[in-house]
């Protein structure tokens, strides 16, 4: 690597990180604030205690995890296959299909939500967790494809071909050679899908049914009512994910997390 990084560049980077994390510090700080409002009145655990009383928060957290996991698995699987098809084959309408993939990315959420609501009614589907998962997969697939494709483009196909010359059939070559190589791309696609599902409000609010409110829906209502347990639940989620990601990173040192 030629030369060291200039000081101004490091300073700039550091300040961007401060910018990204300062609000998080505020959030954690106010989860211990003994007032409902943004005025510091002293240290308290009561917002954490209140979490235990608020069944709706915990219920919605489970719904969010369920929806997040299901939609991530489905959209990652479908998205990865789609990315493979697009990258490995030339066919009529390829550019059209590719542009089609960008449509979900450019569609305003409210339009996506209302149109899905109309569709579900047409199919007489009861609104609930299933409809939320369907909606989340629909807007996630494109993002997975974009991420996985960028990984595929930098990949060496020779290995796969070599495996096939050596007698492996297409499936074996795929599982033993392609997938491991593609893994970081699949993983970051899945991560992106999960985060988007976990944070979606507008579309979800239009396709939820009784008893299937997700965390963002409850959070939204709490922010409106000024309820600091929102900070408490966010702090817990931050800490848990930090620990999980750190642990998985330590466990898979040679499979680095990247986009």
């Amino acid at each position: 690597m030629p030369g060291k990084l200039p000081k101004w560049l490091l300073a700039l980077t550091a300040s961007v990180y401060v910018f990204l994390h300062a609000p998080l510090l505020v959030l954690v700080l106010f989860s211990f604030n003994d007032s409902k409002f943004a005025v510091w009145k002293g240290f308290t655990f009561r917002w954490y205690e209140r979490l235990a009383e608020r069944r709706d928060i915990l219920d919605s957290l489970w719904v969010s995890l369920e929806v997040g996991l299901a939609s991530t698995v489905i959209s990652t699987l479908l998205g990865t296959l789609l990315a493979l098809g697009l990258a490995r084959h030339r066919f009529v309408g390829r550019t059209l299909l590719e542009s089609l993939l960008y449509v979900p990315i450019v569609t305003p959420e409210i339009v996506c939500g209302i149109s899905l609501l109309i569709l579900f009614v047409f199919f007489k589907m009861a609104l609930g967790i299933t409809t939320i998962i369907i909606a989340h997969v629909a807007f996630n697939i494109s993002f997975v494809v974009v991420v996985v494709r960028s990984r595929l483009e930098g990949m060496d196909r020779n290995l796969e071909e070599a495996a096939m010359i050596l007698g492996a059939d297409e499936f074996t070559a795929f599982w033993k050679v392609t997938v491991p190589q593609l893994w970081p791309g699949i993983l970051s696609g899945a991560l992106l899908a999960f985060i988007m599902s976990f944070d979606d409000y507008v579309i979800t609010s239009l396709v939820t049914g009784p008893g299937s409110s997700t965390l963002p829906i409850v959070v939204y209502s709490m922010v409106r009512g000024v309820e600091p347990s929102v900070n408490a639940i966010s702090t817990i989620i931050l800490v848990v994910t930090a620990v999980l990601i750190y642990a998985s990173d330590r466990l898979t040192q040679d499979k680095p997390l990247k986009a």
Binding site: T13, P23, L78, G85, S99, S150, D169, I195, S234, A259
Partner: protein
């Protein structure tokens, strides 16, 4: 299992197109049924007269598209595009250096990438409110500056256009950093070494080698920031005091307050058409320049 396997291999060997479609069918099918068909329905709606309480009534009309070309709405469109463009440029200026540093950070790479993503595990709304706590007249920054006697009276930072910009950049920065980092990471360091040996100055090395090679990342990142910024409205409502009307506000208002679904759809489709045309053009250009590559 092996029977299916064999059948698939035999069938797909005869039809290469079919092989591609076999991989893509589930995903494409899902997108068609649960995205394209509903969207087409909305497109049809946008040509129909509005219902009194949402929805549409039978008929055909261009009025919603014509209405959008009123100066009132065009002004909103222009304002939104300017905000989104400014947000993209700022994100690029802030995100590129970060991506560059990460790509050179060796063992720290994972941690640094992780730290870019972390804020996104909290709800968008919670993050934005935390930002408001920071910037308010009685907020943390003013309190600290006052306590340190650096200022006499609180600086009015909220609501303001700069606060909106900060909020937008905050919301979309990772979408800029990650793709650029992705393309910088693939950069062959020997190219830079060669350039250095040949006497190229750091600035020239950057302009002639690093920047051109990371262009795909820059383009992808810019699109991923510009597009969602175009549709955003909550940020400007919360940090800008809701005193600017964005396209997102307009669409939301049409569906949720004005009961004018077709006009809301028409406004959405005009914006989407503009963006899609740009993306389509970009893809065509890339495909041509790749000349049959991957």
């Amino acid at each position: 299992m092996s029977g299916v396997r064999l059948a698939w291999l035999r069938w797909s060997a005869r039809r290469p197109d079919a092989r591609a479609w076999g991989l893509m069918l589930p995903g494409t099918g899902w997108l068609l049924v649960f995205f394209m068909i509903p969207l087409l329905l909305m497109l049809v709606y946008s040509f129909m007269p509005k219902g009194m309480y949402g929805g549409v009534v039978a008929g055909f009309t261009f009025e919603h598209y014509l209405r959008f070309f009123d100066p009132l709405y065009l002004k909103i469109l222009v304002t939104t595009v300017l905000y989104a463009a400014a947000c993209t440029v700022l994100s690029l200026l802030m995100g590129y250096p970060v991506a560059y540093v990460i790509s050179r950070a060796g063992p720290w790479k994972n941690l640094l990438v992780f730290l870019v993503i972390v804020p996104f595990w909290t709800s968008f709304l919670v993050r934005t409110y935390a930002m408001m706590f920071l910037l308010a007249d009685e907020g943390l920054i003013n309190k600290v500056l006052l306590a340190l006697h650096l200022i006499e009276a609180p600086i009015a930072m909220l609501p303001s256009t700069s606060a909106v910009m900060a909020g937008l950049v905050y919301g979309f920065l990772p979408f800029m950093v990650l793709p650029i980092y992705g393309s910088l990471e693939k950069l062959d360091p020997s190219l830079l070494e060669a350039a250095e040996v040949l006497g190229a100055k750091p600035f020239a090395r950057f302009m002639k080698i690093v920047l051109p090679l990371s262009m795909p990342g820059v383009v992808a990142g810019s699109l991923l920031v510009f597009i969602p910024a175009l549709g955003s409205y909550l940020t400007s409502d919360l940090l800008g005091g809701a005193k600017t009307f964005m396209i997102g506000n307009l669409v939301q208002q049409q569906f949720m307050k004005a009961n004018n679904w077709p006009f809301g759809s028409a406004a959405s489709f005009v914006v989407m058409a503009v963006v899609l045309a740009a993306v389509f053009g970009f893809l065509r250009q890339r495909d041509n320049s790749e000349a049959g590559g991957l």
